[in-house]
């Protein structure tokens, strides 16, 4: 099926001309999905500094035990310093062993407001921290304008800030449960009413995306009828997203909430473990559903607005912090490694005595990734992330 290509601005419609040479915009060949964990997930209890006694001193009730093959509730070995939360044993850990996921600790933004909204906005907009913000220009929208053949989509009810600006990015939540209320006959009549009108494309594309989502849903129903176990929650969404990314889209965004664990977050088991298990099953389900060939041509980046306090609080939870751990996964990712600058996990290395420092700024990380994925040159990278030189972590 041929989709309308995304043309967000004249800048994207015409090839860039520099020094008398004409360069066409790079192709959006890789499927990129950005997963935003809204609420600031407790990175230190997911990618765990198991080599640091300071971690165990700081978290007397919520720490995850050091790796121990005899204990299913202990961390899984990543390397000498780091371990993975056991709730990810059957989902993310296999990807680590296959070297298809890399973790970037001490990643995040220099925004120190520790406000969820502020910092989420900061990251989604991807603009320099200094100076006024343009809420009409998100970095994924700017990325889409720099690529030819970009087919962006937000798998969300509302168009997220990161896709604001430029052209009409479709947004559609995949959490639909049933058949659309508007049937095919009504859809056809509605399309007829809009024929020749400015909104004709938007209307027909809306029905198209809606039908694609519904087809994914009905495929599941058939599978379920044959005795397959139906996935739930984020895994269900992620598998639907994989089918849509496989066939229709290549620059995607989805968010997952429920990470603001101030109280009683649990350790190897408990609330956060439950959320993580669901996230892991979803991401592994995404890789599974998109299939080996397309997985080799896919990158998933998992981000969050900030990390949390390194010390647990008086409520067996953690409060708003700073540095986080980002995940980069895909068939061709240089995985099985911890990437980016690291610091010893000690009281002295904490930011403001409270939380992880940020050693890899998210815009530099994404910039370096986009350079490798798409071959974006300096001018195009500058357009996506103004005043943010890329850092090449050799992620792919």
């Amino acid at each position: 099926m041929l989709r309308r290509h995304f043309i967000a601005s004249a800048a994207a419609a015409f090839p860039a001309i520099a020094a008398g040479h004409v360069w066409a915009a790079p192709q959006a060949k890789t499927r990129l999905l950005v997963v935003f964990l809204r609420g600031a997930y407790d990175a230190a209890n997911v990618v765990i500094p198991v080599g640091a006694d300071f971690y165990y001193q700081s978290r007397p009730t919520i720490a995850v035990p050091k790796p121990d093959p005899a204990n299913p509730n202990s961390a899984l070995v990543l390397d000498a310093d780091w371990g993975l939360h056991p709730a990810l044993k059957d989902s993310i850990y296999p990807l680590w062993r296959q070297k298809q996921i890399a973790f970037v600790p001490f990643a995040g933004t220099d925004d120190l407001t520790r406000s969820h909204f502020e910092t989420q906005d900061t990251i989604e907009l991807g603009q320099p921290l200094q100076g006024p913000r343009d809420y009409g220009s998100g970095f994924m929208s700017r990325l889409a304008t720099q690529l030819s053949g970009a087919q962006p989509i937000a798998f969300t009810d509302q168009l997220p800030l990161t896709f604001r600006g430029g052209g009409a990015v479709p947004n559609m939540s995949v959490n639909v449960s049933g058949k659309p209320g508007i049937d095919d006959r009504q859809a056809k009549l509605i399309e007829q009413m809009y024929q020749g009108q400015p909104l004709a494309t938007s209307v027909s594309e809306g029905f198209q995306v809606r039908d694609e989502v519904y087809r994914s849903v009905s495929a599941e129903m058939v599978a379920a009828n044959r005795g397959a176990v139906s996935p739930k929650g984020f895994e269900l969404s992620a598998r639907r997203i994989a089918r849509l990314m496989k066939t229709q889209f290549n620059v995607g965004f989805v968010d997952v909430g429920g990470w603001d664990t101030h109280v009683n977050q649990g350790g190897a088991q408990g609330y956060l473990a439950g959320r993580l298990g669901e996230l892991g099953r979803g991401l592994a389900g995404y890789a599974d559903e998109i299939g080996p060939d397309d997985w080799n041509n896919s990158v998933v980046v998992v981000i969050s607005e900030f990390g949390r306090t390194f010390h647990e609080n008086g409520d067996r939870g953690t409060d708003h912090g700073h540095g986080s751990v980002y995940w980069v996964m895909g068939g061709k990712v240089n995985g099985g490694r911890m990437l980016g600058r690291q610091a010893a996990v000690t009281q002295a290395s904490l930011n403001q005595n409270r939380d992880y420092p940020v050693l890899t700024e998210y815009r530099a990380l994404f910039g370096g990734l986009f350079q490798r994925l798409y071959g974006l040159d300096g001018a195009r990278l500058e357009a996506v992330f103004p005043q943010a030189p890329p850092v090449d972590l050799r992620l792919v």
Partner: protein
């Protein structure tokens, strides 16, 4: 034959060529014009509003909309529903104090599970207060005779946006709408500006409650200039932001019954009105230079001076006029129109009704009737108004859900810029297909609108009759041949309703 409407000289609405082209020969064109005027000035035409404008003529009708009486004059059944809302009887300050106490008690619990449950209960109690505020606003949008006032109330809330989910703003929302915004929606801009400045919802949202001498928080100072008054790029500097922030030090919130402890010489400077407090001990009494004016350190008087300067700045007249014209006319309102509105703003010292009158009398306004793409709130409210007219809904929950699904939920825009008023924000593919789903829900059933939100309440199911007198009298004339053709193929009344609410004509006002 019905009496044809004559639009008065003050309006002198001309029939555009485009309107003529789609107007069947049998129709009286001025009825289509009246319909278009109603759809623009109100939350959507109803049979009763069409009858009213016909009875008194468009000039008197518009004058009434611009200068409504002091009383709301809501239908008794609507007033009774509003009176029954808990937020209508409990004063906001008390509500906030009570909820803060509930929060404190929840946080003091030691058992983690009990604490979590208590914190959830607190969050739910806060959310309930904001939902009541939305109910009150929706009922007024649907049934108030003062439609322009209600529309401008939404506009000004959005202009002075606060986000309900920040901190403890939810219980403040209803009061913010009712006491800071609505009384001034058609009044003086300067009054509106000060009313929002003194409201705890704004002081909390833009952090001025934390702004104190030597602990400067510039957030509100910046947004007042950038969004509320002068507009971005109006030539003010970062230094002006800093100076205004200094002027605003001490302007905050106090929920405690006792006055703050003050030195005797400062006690006369203290101001408390409800939760609003000007605390002289937190104020920077040094002199400031703001937008070229020297402002002597003098306490809250400095704030009054700064607001006078801002409200009278020509940039404010331009910025506010541009915003109103964008909401009311088009994505890119004609500069000449904005200029005339801005001149009215300045001549009238910021009289909002005068600015709107200039707008309504302009040829640009008349030419634009029927062309403005409805944002989701306009779309949903106008659908329910057309569907049920004077029949009062008993549950606003479905309306809140519909606008929420369309991503324009009441009080739910996180950032201070408010919801976008340009069509591009609302006509994306996902938006359109969701809109059609909602058209079907409104068109083919009552969808819980007549089932009160109380345990055991009975429902009154049924579907609306959109093929009504108003349709034959005026709506039919405005429809293009493809729309009529689609309607002719409807297989039932519900199907017909769904198609009409999905039509390109109904997407515009």
């Amino acid at each position: 034959m019905r009496r044809t409407l004559q639009l008065g000289a003050g309006l002198g609405l001309a029939v555009s060529a485009a309107a003529l082209a789609t107007t069947p020969a049998r129709a009286a064109p001025d009825q289509a014009q009246t319909l278009a005027l109603l759809n623009r000035v109100t939350w959507g035409a109803t049979p009763a509003s069409a009858a009213e404008i016909e009875a008194i003529g468009p000039d008197r009708w518009l004058a009434r909309q611009l200068h409504p009486g002091a009383d709301d004059a809501l239908p008794p059944a609507v007033q009774a529903q509003i009176d029954a809302l808990p937020i209508s009887s409990e004063p906001m300050a008390q509500l906030v104090v009570d909820l803060d106490a509930q929060n404190k008690a929840a946080n003091a619990l030691t058992d983690p599970d009990q604490k979590k449950a208590a914190q959830q209960a607190y969050q739910q109690a806060m959310t309930a207060t904001a939902k009541q505020a939305a109910t009150r606003e929706i009922l007024r949008d649907l049934y108030s005779p003062d439609q322009l006032k209600e529309q401008m109330t939404w506009f000004w809330f959005n202009h002075f946006n606060v986000h309900e989910y920040k901190a403890n703003i939810r219980p403040m929302i209803g009061d913010y709408v009712d006491r800071a915004i609505r009384p001034h929606a058609l009044g003086r801009f300067r009054d509106l500006l000060e009313a929002t400045l003194k409201h705890p919802a704004m002081l909390r949202y833009l952090d001025n409650a934390d702004n104190a001498a030597n602990h400067i928080n510039e957030n509100y100072a910046r947004e007042i200039m950038e969004l509320h008054t002068l507009g971005v790029g109006a030539g003010y500097s970062q230094k002006d932001v800093q100076e205004l922030a200094r002027i605003l030090t001490g302007v905050g919130i106090d929920t405690k019954p006792d006055n703050p402890h003050l030195k005797p010489e400062l006690q006369g400077q203290l101001i408390r009105e409800g939760l609003f407090e000007f605390n002289p001990a937190r104020h920077d009494y040094g002199d400031k230079v703001f937008l070229g004016h020297v402002i002597k350190g003098a306490g809250f008087g400095e704030v009054e001076q700064a607001l006078d300067i801002l409200a009278r700045d020509p940039a404010t007249a331009r910025h506010v006029s541009t915003q109103i014209a964008t909401y009311m006319v088009s994505d890119n309102p004609p500069p000449a129109l904005v200029q005339r509105m801005a001149a009215s703003f300045q001549h009238s010292d910021g009289d909002i009704a005068a600015v709107l009158q200039t707008l309504f009398r302009s040829p640009e306004f008349k030419a634009s009737l029927g062309t403005r793409f409805k944002d989701p709130v306009h779309y949903v409210i106008s659908s329910v108004r057309l569907a049920y007219g004077d029949r009062v809904i008993l549950n606003t929950g479905p309306v809140q859900n519909w606008v929420g699904r369309l991503a324009e939920g009441f009080y739910n825009h996180e950032t201070p810029d408010g919801f976008a008023m340009t069509s591009a924000a609302w006509d994306s593919p996902g938006q359109m297909s969701t809109r059609f789903e909602i058209a079907r829900q409104i068109g083919s059933g009552s969808y819980g609108l007549f089932k009160p939100d109380q345990p055991g309440a009975g429902d009154h199911p049924g579907f609306p009759q959109l093929q009504n007198a108003l349709y034959y009298q005026s709506i039919a004339q405005t429809l293009s041949p493809p729309t009529r053709n689609a309607l002719d193929q409807a297989t039932s009344a519900q199907d017909w309703n769904t198609l009409l609410l999905s039509s390109p004509e109904f997407m515009r006002r």
